[in-house]
Amino acid sequence: MFPDGFDYYEASSVSEAIDLMAEHAGAETELLAGGHSLLPAMKSGLSSPDVLIDIGDVEALHGVTADGDTLGIGAMTTYSDFIGEDASEEHAPALYHAVRQVGDTQVRNRGTVGGNIAHADPASDLPGAALASDATIVVTGPDGERRVSADDFFFGMYATDIGPDELVTRVEVPSAADAVGAYAKKPSPSSGYAMVGVCVQATVDGGTVQSARVGANGVMDRGVRLEGVEDALAGASLDEATIDAAADRATEGLDTAMMMSDLQASAEFREQLVGTYTRRALERVLDRTPTPAAAD
C-alpha cells in the first residue's frame, strides 16, 4: 500500500498551478487537493501519476463568502471548514446536509468541497447536492475563468467538463436562505460511499412547495436530477400524500438499464432504494419546514 514514485510540486497560487500543469502537460499529472480520493487510489495502484501538483494550501482557494445573493465556496475549503460556517447552513442547506454526511470526522478535516466535485465520483455525496442546490462550478484555466452550471458539469464516471489545463477554483450556490435542505443516504457498509443518496432543496410557503430541486448519487454513472420527483412536488402541498406520490416517481426519466450495479447493490435493488431514500429525504424536509401556523 505504497504509492508509486512521482514528482511533487506545491503551487502557492492558482496561476502557479496553471503554469505547473502547462509545464508538465506531457506527463500524467494529477492535482492534489485534500487527497482523500486520490491518495487511496494511488496506494491501491488504481492511479499512478508521474506528477502531483498540490493545490491544497493555495490561500485564495480557501473559505466561504456570502454576499446575500450567492454563497461562494473556495474549492480547497475542507468539509469541516464549510460545515463550521453559519452561512453554509443558512444559504446552502442542501449542500450543508450532504457535506455533513461525507466520510467521517477525519475525512472531513482533510477532504475538500472542490476536490469532491472535480473528482466526480458518482457514489460520492456532493454531485447530487450540487445539482439540488443549483450550483455553478467555476473553472479556471490559462484563458481565465469560466462558469459551468452543475447541470452541465458532470459527464459521467470521473468525467467532467474540466479541461486538461484547468482546475476548479470555486463553487457558487445561489442563496437559498428561505429553502429547506435534506440528504438521505444509504452508505455502503464498507466504504461509506453512497449506494444511493438523495438530496433535496425545497422552498415551501404556507405548506405549498414553491420550488424543489432533487439530485441523486450512486444511481447512474453521474449525479442526476430526479425530475419526476421535482415535478410531483412543484405546486403541491407538502404532506404525506405528496411525498408518496413523489417517491413513486423517483426513477422517472432514468434509463434503468444503465443504473449502477455492483456486488453491493444490483440495479433492481438501487431502483427500489431511490424511491425509499427519496421518501426519507422528503420526510426530513417536511420535519424541517416550519408549519404555516408557526411561520409568520
Binding site: 500500500m1 505504497f2 504509492p3 508509486d4 514514485g5 512521482f6 514528482d7 511533487y8 510540486y9 506545491e10 492534489l32 487527497g35 482523500h36 491518495l39 487511496p40 496506494k43 491501491s44 502531483l52 498540490d54 491544497g56 469541516s80 446536509h97 455533513r100 454526511q101 466520510g103 467521517d104 470526522t105 477525519q106 475525512v107 478535516n109 482533510r110 435534506a182 440528504y183 438521505a184 443516504k185 444509504k186 452508505p187 464498507s190 466504504s191 461509506g192 426519507r280 426530513r284
Partner: protein, 180 residues
Amino acid sequence: MTEHDITLTVNGAEHDLTVEARTLLVHALRDELGYTGTNVGCESSLCGACTVRMDGEAVKSCTALAVQADGAEIRTVEDLGTRHDFHPIQEGFQEEHGLQCGYCTPGMMMTALDILEENPDPTREEIREGLEGNLCRCTGYQNIVNAVQNAAKEMQPAAVADGGESDDDPTPATDGGEEL
C-alpha cells in the same frame, strides 16, 4: 521522483527530515522519527488506527503525504500522558475497559481528544458520530463510548452538574439516519 526537505513538529519537538514525495505521514512518523505509538491498520483511510492531530485537527496519517505536512504541528498518542500520569482520556479507557487488543486505541484516543476539545460535554450519540471513522473489531464500541464519556466528566467537572447524561437525546445531530 522528487525528494523534499521538510520540517515536522511532533509533540512539540521540531524534526528536519528528507522524504520521498510518496512517503506517507504515518511512515515518516513511525519509521523515520520513531513515533511508533501511531498504528497502521487498514492503510485505506477507513479504520482510523493511524489518527494523529495535524494543526489541531484529527487526520488519518495514512492518507496524507509527509510532504503535505511540511511545517505542521503533529500531535501523536505519545503526547497524551505517561505510564504514571495518564491523560484523562487514557484514564477513561482504563476505567471503562475501552479496549481489548488495543490496536485501535491510539487512534481512538486522538479522535476522542478532537471530540472533547470541540464539544466538552458530548452526548453518546455525538461521541458515536465523532468516532465514526475509527473502527474497533473487539469491543462493540459500548465501552469506548463509556470511556470518552468518563474522560469528558474528568476533563469538565462543571458540565456534569447541568445534566451530562443524555443517552436518549432525541435531537438527531445530523442527517445520518443510519445506526453507527
